[in-house]
Amino acid sequence: MMLAAGTPLKLSIAATLASLVLVLVVFELIRSRRLRERYALLWLLTGIVLVILSAWRGGLNTIASWLGVRGYPPAVLFAVGLLFVILVLLHYSTVISRLSDQNVILAQRLALLEAKLSDRSSQP
């Protein structure tokens, strides 16, 4: 024990298990085609980073001391988790923006196509 305030073992185990479950769930979602790889990569990265930080207690403590977190190293876990959640949300915002643009284009094309079809069928 280098640091008086290290990461408690139980917390490390619990956090590792939780992160592993995240990775497995993401994997299963891709496998069953409910999640595209394109949108899963960031989730997989999140899960893997959290697994590493949770399981590798020395590493977590070291990073915490670099950052000047003296009292409670697992706080770094929360910070990293939060950072990734923000990244994923931001990514989703860009995806939603693109989807809504494309949706407008589709609706417009459909309206034009319908007009063309009904013009055609109304002529004898």
Binding site: R33, R36, E37, A40, R109
Partner: protein, 262 residues
Amino acid sequence: MSAERRIAVVPAFNEERNIARVVGELGAFDPELDVVVISDGSIDRTAEAAAAAGAHVLRLPFNLGIGGAVQTGFQYAWEQGYDLVVRCDGDGQHIPAELPKVIAPVVAGEADIAVGSRFSGGDGYRSSASRRIGIRVLALVVSGIARQRVTDTTSGFQALNRRALELFAADYPHDYPEVEGMVMTIKHRLRLVEVPVQMREREHGQSSITALRSIYYMAKVLTALFVGLFRRNVVPLEDSGRRLDGGQPGAEVPALPAPERR
């Protein structure tokens, strides 16, 4: 077998400077070969140029990416009842004079899909170091999965029969379709062969893969390949279900199976 109907599927994104020549060369090489150009949300005059050159044109309302564009062409070919499909890029990279080599194994019934490879013939095809390493790694990984030596996993110069067309019209990878498509082919127990061909360097425009994105590209492709191995098949395997078209060319064309969703 002159009754076989053949079509070239040519995806093109902002290729107004190349597309007319590509369509013209395909037509000049084989007048029996129909051509469908998929303008993938192009903002230049790709679609007009292709239509003027005598191709059928499908205009996508926005950019779907290479996989989505090619699949649109496959769906067109499937619904129109074509027996043989050639996939060929819209940038002039693929040389129509090399077509017979790619088509031959499929016409002879030796393969369901034939892929033109730049590397298996040992003919000098230059590209950047990072791309060459990427190409090597992918070739190794795919060869391992396929238990069959492949050298060019990113080649878009391919010929398909109706069995392979059925699979790809129903389910085609979106982001990096050539690599994943090869693995899908193997997983569905279709016969794949590689044939050595020559390709041209790109003439105008930029390749969609830049050196900087290589690492991101590799991470994505390898993840996709790995997960793809475990994924459910959309089109049932030959021995586990009936064929959609009964294997009869000219039989009534059924609707495409919808991708499975849960």
